[in-house]
């Protein structure tokens, strides 16, 4: 569970929404980027909720420390059992962890939930979509020129198909990913789009990318970016983390024809 939460941990606080489907943990920054981690009810051995939906704000840094109280590296043969309880509005989130006969109880104060942004990203407005194996994208993202303020993403039905560009102090770099590459699992690009995003906002998504096996990259008619990461957790179960990012407003979007 902590792998999934670490993938969205770029701010101190997170919003937790619990429903019958499971838990959704949301982290936002600058009103331009939002990350959502989905822990579906199925990954838990037991998941009970009395109300339709329960929402609270919590310190994600503290939550992660508690989840990893017995150490972050798991020793072979040892498993940690976890139980989480929330008694309703105003109550703390209570965690009970057990490993090797040692029991830890944590009680974390919750706060009034904030409104989260609705990026209004729906599949009907998706112009370009690529699904690829995370491996090759990891390399490209790790080598991103941090002196560049902007990451430019070009997606097109024509060459170069998928290009990541940065414009830093040393010069510009372009990484091209041809659609025929066996790293690319699905390629649905209808229109050539070039969009620019602030590198500083996208950097946190690298954490999610490095834990993932597969990623879907989509842009809509407004240039908004959706990254969806498929992460396998410690027990082999599959969870999703998605990042939404608004395009950089200082630059004009240019649509090459």
């Amino acid at each position: 569970m902590s792998t999934i939460l670490k993938a969205v941990h770029f701010k101190e606080t997170a919003l937790v929404i619990a429903s019958a489907m499971g838990l959704k943990v949301t982290v936002e920054d600058s009103k331009c980027i939002q990350a959502n981690a989905f822990l579906q009810a199925g990954i838990f051995q037991e998941f009970l909720i009395k109300e339709e939906q329960v929402t609270f704000k919590i310190n994600l840094t503290v939550l992660l420390e508690c989840l990893n109280i017995f150490g972050s590296s798991s020793t072979p043969g040892s498993t940690t059992a976890l139980r989480m309880c929330y008694a309703g509005y105003g109550s703390p989130l209570v965690l009970m962890l057990e490993e090797g006969g040692v029991l830890t109880n944590c009680s974390i104060k919750t706060q009034e939930p904030d409104e989260t942004l609705d990026f209004n990203f729906c599949s009907t407005n998706v112009i370009n979509k690529i699904i690829m194996k995370s491996e090759c994208l990891k390399e490209a993202f790790n080598e991103l020129d941090m002196t560049s303020e902007i990451l430019q993403i070009l997606m097109s039905p024509d060459k170069p198909y998928f290009r990541l560009s940065t414009f830093g102090n040393a010069g510009s770099t372009h990484s091209d990913f041809p659609k025929e590459s066996d790293m690319v699992e699905a390629f649905n690009c209808t229109q050539t789009q070039t969009n620019r995003y602030k590198v500083s906002l996208l950097k946190p998504s690298v954490k999610a990318l490095s834990s993932s096996v597969r990623v879907s990259i989509r842009t809509d008619n407004r240039g908004f970016l959706s990254l969806q990461f498929m992460i396998k957790n410690e027990d082999g179960q599959v969870c999703f983390v998605e990042y939404y990012c608004a395009p950089d407003e200082d630059m004009e979007e240019d649509y090459d024809s």
């Binding site: 310190n59 109280i69 017995f70 150490g71 830890t104 944590c106 974390i108």
Partner: protein
């Protein structure tokens, strides 16, 4: 004053290195006391040390093949030196494969402990490395600052759970608060707790054992078993300590698996006692009031 010792067995050299390494992680400077039968690494309880005090005792015969010392005078046959243990560790690190190590009290530009290390060589010529560790001689009038601490009249005495587990938990708790409360009872239970405005975390260890203190086991013990028997064994006593100092103590331990005893006087004293065949280490931490 003279001192000369030689370590020959590679196991002894490595063991000695680990002991000094532990000390170096606990104190920047300390006192080395030498007499005919023992070596001591001492940190006395002074404000400048942050209230921590250390007493580490080694039986010389278990480490040294050859050992000669002549103290200050016939009626004061001891040597007290102040040094930086990290410097000793650095010298000993070069000896991990040595044929032998000699330690000598010498006078170079300042008094030193000189380490001579004979290293294995492929040729018939020998390779020797020499390190000089500067020390300062402590005058006799200050010697009574470095006496063995009295075993406290503890309320609870318990064997710690494996330090590795405690260390993992405390390393995490360190990120949540500056202080941790240790509580224990005479029924095998130990609890570590941190509490702040935002979060409270408590880790509960059970089924721990207790040392049986008798006058025979340790002649220095003034504590009789009846003292602890008078308490309700389920009742907890507690102390609040600086979490960083506790974490430092836990991460300093280099000498292998051993029994670690924790003695607590409710809200006043916390004392750790590590016992090995040839080494004993006592560590007192300052207690912060609740």
């Amino acid at each position: 004053m003279r001192f000369r010792g030689k370590l020959v067995d590679i196991g002894c050299i490595q063991h000695f290195t680990r002991v000094v390494s532990t000390i170096s992680k606990l104190a920047k400077t300390c006192t080395l006391r030498i007499n005919q039968s023992k070596l001591y690494f001492i940190l006395s309880e002074r404000v400048v040390n942050g209230g921590v005090s250390i007493w580490c005792e080694l039986t010389q015969g278990h480490f040294f093949n050859e050992f000669n010392m002549e103290g200050l005078a016939e009626d004061a046959n001891e040597i007290f030196l102040e040094l930086t243990p990290e410097n000793m560790v650095k010298s000993l690190k070069s000896a991990q494969n040595a044929k032998w190590v000699k330690m000598k009290l010498t006078k170079k530009h300042t008094p030193c402990i000189t380490f001579e290390v004979e290293l294995p060589s492929l040729t018939s010529h020998s390779r020797t490395v020499v390190h000089d560790v500067p020390v300062s001689v402590i005058p006799k009038r200050l010697w009574d600052e470095f006496e063995e601490p009295e075993m406290p009249d503890f309320d609870v005495s318990i064997y710690m759970p494996p330090l590795k587990v405690v260390r993992n938990v405390v390393d995490r708790m360190k990120n949540l608060s500056n202080f941790v409360v240790l509580s224990a009872n005479q029924s095998g239970e130990l609890i570590l707790k941190v509490e702040t405005d935002l979060v409270s975390v408590s880790t509960h260890f059970r089924d721990l054992t207790h040392p049986q203190w008798t006058k025979d086991k340790d002649p220095n013990v003034s504590q009789t078993p009846t003292q602890t028997q008078q308490r309700d064994p389920q009742e907890f006593v507690e102390v609040r300590v600086d979490i960083r100092k506790f974490a430092q103590f836990l991460s300093s331990q280099q000498v292998g698996p051993q029994r670690v005893i924790c003695n607590i006087v409710d809200n006043r004293i916390i004392h750790f006692f590590l016992l090995h065949d040839d080494v004993s280490l006592q560590y007192f931490m300052p207690v912060v009031s609740m």
